[in-house]
Symmetry: C2
């Protein structure tokens, strides 16, 4: 029984029927719809010689024992944002199940194969993403803070976890699951416009961007729009406007795929009859290289200082969040590149802007790679999210080749 990529597409549509509505996918973690999706996934794998386990963080594992205990992991997440798309997350686990079925049908493999459905990747209900993978990866160190999270109905995260049989205090015990992990593979839709713009169906992910998030606060002087001549003004909006435009030059100067976004500016008093006294500006900067990321931030800060002087303003900034870049494994990147080139003719290497469970596994020291399949119009987290069926089928084929090559490598002593 060989690989059947069209079946993956059919199963994804079936899942959407079962757990979506006219507004899109509704598989929000820690809800009944999510449970229904998890049960459905179990059904896909029924009858295969797999060990089934739910770990302390709510991650579901299916294990095909091989000659060696050292394991190749395939991971994804079946949860979605509210009114999400039909592919984000679930593509990974449904394609992974198909690959596992193909391998199991060929007899006992040389190394152990495991599929994991990570719990609550999206963080849609409680605002904390990568729940299950951060528990298993060992980076979940904020249990006190997690214990205080509530959803918009006032239900606490610990209470919602308990309803699923999970004890927050023991979630990190899931780290034991990675003890024998030699390599980790994840397939995902791109959620961006790059592959479509290049007319390439599949790409290799080099890693996940490091992120620097800052809030710049510009302070000038409120003044009457009618009685204050232009040369007597200290307009806080002018500082924010200059930086909003200049971040494009900063990104171009640093290069290497750098992105900078001024996601919002809030002006006070914000009325038509007054020069802006205070402007609060959000800045998000991302890069795959730690030094380049630091340079992006440095250039933004020095430009802000210069603009404040030009406009006779005060400016200050605070870091509101940051995460270092995660670089995927070079050997696995090579395998992924080859698998894509064999199946699709050509490949493209690109960074991932969004975070993924793969970043948590990689941070835990497991050699990791991700494969991206083209997203139409770059849309995700909406029911409009889509990918051509033909590209999905190519993705399953290429991902299966990547899995085979990785098994060989680990069997030969490669991986962790």
């Amino acid at each position: 029984m060989g690989l059947e990529p069209p079946r993956v597409v059919a199963q994804l549509r079936e899942l959407q029927q079962l757990t979506g509505d006219e507004n899109g996918a509704q598989r929000v973690a820690w809800t009944e719809t999510w449970d229904r999706a998890r049960d459905w996934l179990d059904g896909l794998l029924a009858g295969l010689p797999l060990e089934r386990e739910r770990d302390e963080a709510g991650n579901d594992w299916w294990t095909l024992r091989g000659d060696s205990e050292r394991a190749v992991l395939i991971g994804g997440h079946i949860d979605s944002v509210p009114s999400g798309g039909w592919l984000d997350g679930c593509l990974n686990v449904v394609a992974g199940a198909e690959v596992l079925r193909r391998i199991a049908a060929a007899g006992k493999p040389p190394v152990t194969m495991r599929l994991v459905n990570w719990a609550d990747e999206e963080g849609a209900r409680f605002g904390r993403s990568l729940f299950g993978s951060s528990a298993a990866g060992g980076s979940m160190r904020d249990q006190d803070e997690l214990g205080r999270l509530v959803d918009r109905d006032g239900v606490g995260l610990p209470e919602a976890l308990a309803a699923s049989g999970i004890d927050l205090a023991h979630a990190s015990d899931a780290q034991a699951q990675l003890a024998n992990a030699a390599a980790y593979l994840e397939l995902h839709i791109e959620q961006g416009p790059v592959l479509e713009s290049m007319d390439i169906p599949l790409g290799v992910v080099l890693g996940t961007f490091g992120v620097e998030r800052s809030r710049f606060t510009w302070r000038g002087q409120a003044a009457h729009a009618g009685s204050t001549p232009m040369d007597k003004r200290r307009d806080a909006l002018a500082g924010a406007a200059k930086l909003a435009l200049h971040i494009r030059e900063i990104a171009a100067e640093v290069g290497g795929g750098a992105v900078c976004t001024s996601g919002g500016v809030v002006t006070k008093p914000g009325i038509v009859t007054s020069v802006v006294e205070t402007a609060e500006q959000l800045l998000d900067q991302r890069h795959l290289g730690a030094a380049s990321l630091a340079r992006l931030l440095e250039l933004a800060r020095s430009a802000a200082t210069r603009f404040a002087a030009e406009e006779n303003l005060e400016v200050e900034w605070e870091r509101i969040w940051s995460i270092e870049p995660i670089l995927f494994d070079e050997t696995l990147i090579g395998f992924c590149d080859n698998a894509i080139a064999e199946v699709a003719g050509r490949s493209h290497r690109l960074p991932s802007g969004p975070l993924h469970d793969a970043a948590e596994v990689s941070r835990a020291g497991v050699p990791t790679v991700m494969m991206f399949v083209q997203s139409l119009r770059g849309l995700s987290h909406t029911k409009l999210e889509d990918t051509h069926d033909a590209d999905l089928e190519l993705a399953v084929q290429a991902f299966d080749r990547l899995a085979s090559r990785t098994i060989e490598w680990v069997a030969g002593g490669g991986g962790r």
Copy 2:
């Protein structure tokens, strides 16, 4: 009994004691504190040979009959914004009372002299400014809309007017008050930084700015801050930022005291992880010349069209309010200039950014001029509003000279 400028300053401080608190002046129209201020003003004029009248719009008039019925009017307003300054509005009526006292003491004047305390210049309680002067000037044509105004406690304007004995339906009957008006004079603090920056105590007001208020709406595409390369973005904030900076060049190009203000920008979705999809930008443009004002707006619109093309955005605009410029009387401007130069050594001609009751009287066809006295730090509508005592005294002196010259002019057949 000659003019006593220091008495005006002392009376203004007395009024502040009586009707202000630690947060500033509290003489909001249609409140008990305002009534107390109006009664106090009556007291200042007690004993003089004046006819006292309250018209249908709540304006208070004191009339000193002269040889001719043709009248020179001095006007101001004793109402203030909540927690306002000690000079805005009341300077005019208190100085006017002193001038009237000086003229009355000299015997029957050749023309009639009238002092008017306009009702509700600020519009602080119901959001409609220039209530009394627009009723008398004839521009109050929105009685239906006025009838629906409510304060923040839910009290309707008609109800509040009735408590002061005013019937909204008959407020416009106050127009009869201007029947014999030959000229109108008003003294006010500048409420801006121009005179202070030139170190000149007094200035002649050329008129009140015309205003064009617009809302520009920029539309791009929301996109993930991590997965969207810089060259694939349609950032609505970029359009708003370019216009916010470019309005300074537009004001400089048109010149003649032009001012342009981008008082606020609202971004959507306004989150750190998304490129801005929509930016709503408020624009306020002012000029003393109608053609120049039209040119300011035209330049802003053509720049917006250009920026939208550069940034691959859509842009649209709507006019949210506009008023034409009001030019004061050239003869009276000359009298005012001379009076200032005689008293203060030198004068300066400047436009008024804020509107004033004088604009309503001027629009009604009465030859009008205003005199400004320097404001410290350009501050107004705050308890920090201030002017040097010496400058206030100079203002009373110069304003008295202006009144004398205007009386001569009207007596000789000048004015309306």
